[in-house]
Amino acid sequence: MLKIFKYIFFDLVRSRWTYAYFLFYLALGFVMLFLSNDVSKAIITLMNVIVVLTPLVGTIFGVMHYYNSREFTELLLAQPMKRSTIFIGQYIGLSLSLALSLLLGLGIPFLFYGLLRSSAIWDFGSLLVAGAFLTFIFVALAYIIAISNENRIKGFGYAILMWLGLAIIYDGLFLISLLVFDDYPLDKFALIATMFNPIDLSRILILLKLDISALFGYTGATFKMFLGTSLGMVISLLVLCMWVVIPTWLIYRIARKRDF
């Protein structure tokens, strides 16, 4: 598995798409920091970008990479190797190279800016952690979609729909259900519904770090208990881990049964 991972990783690290992605974050980071001159403001803007963009890029890269390297995958499958090794190796290679683009692309400008001496380092850290998690989650989801769909167009379609669903439609439904069931106690439902969407979850994780937690607490005791303390942080991180582990396990299961 390590060999496959290494191969895929170095192949991707040299590809121009990864460079473009890296350069985009690099430019974004520099522009944000040196134009706004305020780290905390820059972090909020970056959060808006990361929470939307990393899932989208992860999804598209995941699907694209799977379909493009299909022949190579078939070649590998002819070798005496376990299927799980091949697919999980590919998955980790891809998501790690994307996550690295993000970390370096944003990390370098912040280092130049003197982040290590600034108090915003933890906020920034949580931003990067959430970004990396989102990359891993959405690449895995995209892989699942790609593996289960022979037809590329369909695969792309489903993948984009999945992104759209989690980034926008889910929130819309969430909002409507909150407004419709206004008369009932909703705080537990709202918290649980948030757990089922990695984008919402990482957004809240970052917001908690950015000290807007008091705003959440204003709403009610459950929110205060959950989001106003470190409990919320720990549980959010755990659920994000689950969001990585479960899809990866699904890739493994689907790949094992799949015919090529």
């Binding site: 909020i44 984008i199 008091a214 959440f216």
Partner: protein, 412 residues
């Protein structure tokens, strides 16, 4: 009023130096070894000078116009047995005394310094530590409370007292005091024509400053931070609040400044930074909010029902999660000439005023008001889209709540 204060002070100065006023020294090894004894020996206008040391005394009754002066380290330890000093005569001056260990009580308002029904008193440079109530002042007038340091370690509202508690007083001057870890830093009830200036009130479990039924008062240049719920001003008329700083009141039900049933107030040049709610106005009428600085608050301004003829102008609203939350009719409240950091309009004629009006109430702010749980969608892409479409064509938010002349530049 002020003239008469000065006259009195002058007279008392003249009196103490030229009439045969004497100084009675109190120390552990002197002929007079207790403060109560010293006061008993003193006659009108005398000075009781308390030398350094700890005096385990309580309920020290002062019923004649004298000066009680410490040397900075002259400590009255009340040993949780009752009041510290009791002031019952006009023209008393207390200086440089330290009073400590005033015990809690659920039936009596034990205070380090208790003042009742007197005039022209001065309490300055005193340190009151581990107190229940710091100063409890009732029905007294023309007093000066200055440069005092009051602290305690309040944990619960029900078992703690206020730093400076003023009840039914008038013409008081409270300035340069520091108050911490009490219930309310400064509490005023039925107090009129008084000035609260340059005080520092922080880490109190309820309010930094609490106004009730107090008319014609002013407070300027005070700092209130990290208090349980900020500053509350209720049921009062004709107030002036300027150059104060309300900050770090982060909590689930916290605000910088709460206004409830306020008429005719001037709120100017204040800074409100990092509060859950900057100003929470409920039933505020004819209040002018000018030149205030709202920075990094959750809600800069929350306006609830029954607010009429308020004027919000030339304020800076910068980086607040929500600028304005408004859940009643616009009435005749006015937003004009403010600077909003979220304003995205343009200024083609370069006159410093944006060409398109600004709507301070976002759709999201409106939704959160209706269903608070939706706060979980803060800064989500979906919400930004909704806000944008609402900005283009307002449907839900009050369409006449506008700032027609939003400033392009920040006010200094």
């Amino acid at each position: 009023m002020r003239k008469s204060i000065i006259l009195t002070i002058l007279l008392s100065l003249v009196g103490s130096s030229y009439l045969d006023a004497k100084t009675i020294e109190v120390c552990k090894t002197c002929a007079v070894s207790s403060i109560a004894e010293g006061i008993a020996l003193a006659s009108k206008n005398d000075v009781v000078l308390v030398k350094e040391g700890v005096y385990a005394e309580h309920d020290i009754d002062i019923s004649k116009p004298i000066t009680l002066r410490g040397e900075g380290n002259s400590v009255i330890d009340a040993e949780n047995k009752g009041y510290g000093l009791l002031l019952f005569s006009d023209s008393i001056t207390i200086e440089k005394m330290t009073v400590t260990n005033i015990g809690n009580s659920y039936t009596k308002d034990f205070a380090a310094i208790y003042v009742s029904k007197i005039k022209y008193f001065t309490i300055q440079n005193c340190t009151l530590t581990n107190v229940f109530f710091g100063m409890l002042i009732e029905k007294s007038h023309y007093g000066v409370i200055r440069h005092n340091d009051i602290s305690s370690d309040a944990i619960e509202e029900s078992s703690s007292g206020n730093g400076i508690h003023l009840w039914s007083c008038s013409n008081l001057q409270v300035d340069h005091n520091e108050l911490q870890k009490l219930r309310d830093g400064i509490y005023l009830e039925f107090v009129s024509e008084s000035k609260i200036e340059y005080n520092l009130s922080h880490h109190n479990i309820r309010y930094g400053l609490h106004f009730m039924f107090s008319n014609d008062d002013e407070y300027h240049y005070n700092q209130f931070y990290s208090n349980g719920a900020g500053v509350a001003v209720m049921f009062s008329k004709r107030l002036a609040m300027t150059h104060n700083r309300f900050s770090e009141n982060w909590g689930s039900a916290s605000y910088g400044l709460l206004l409830k049933e306020i008429y005719d107030a001037e709120i100017e040049y204040n800074t409100l930074e990092r509060n859950t709610i900057g100003i929470n106005a409920e039933g505020a009428t004819r209040v002018n909010y000018k030149h205030n600085y709202f920075l990094n608050n959750g809600w800069a301004l929350k306006v609830s029902g029954a607010c009429y003829a308020n004027d919000f102008s030339e304020n800076n609203f910068i980086n607040n999660s929500f600028d304005v939350s408004y859940d009643s009719k616009v009435n005749d409240n006015k937003f004009d000439h403010n600077y909003w950091s979220t304003y995205t309009g343009y200024d083609l004629d370069k006159n410093g005023v944006g060409d398109i009006p600004f709507r301070p109430v976002k759709l999201f702010s409106y939704i959160v008001n209706r269903t608070p749980e939706t706060i979980l969608l803060l800064r989500s892409l979906f919400m930004e889209l909704l806000n944008f479409s609402e900005k283009v064509s307002p449907v839900f938010t009050p369409d006449n709540l506008l700032d027609n002349h939003p400033s392009i530049k920040k006010f200094e």
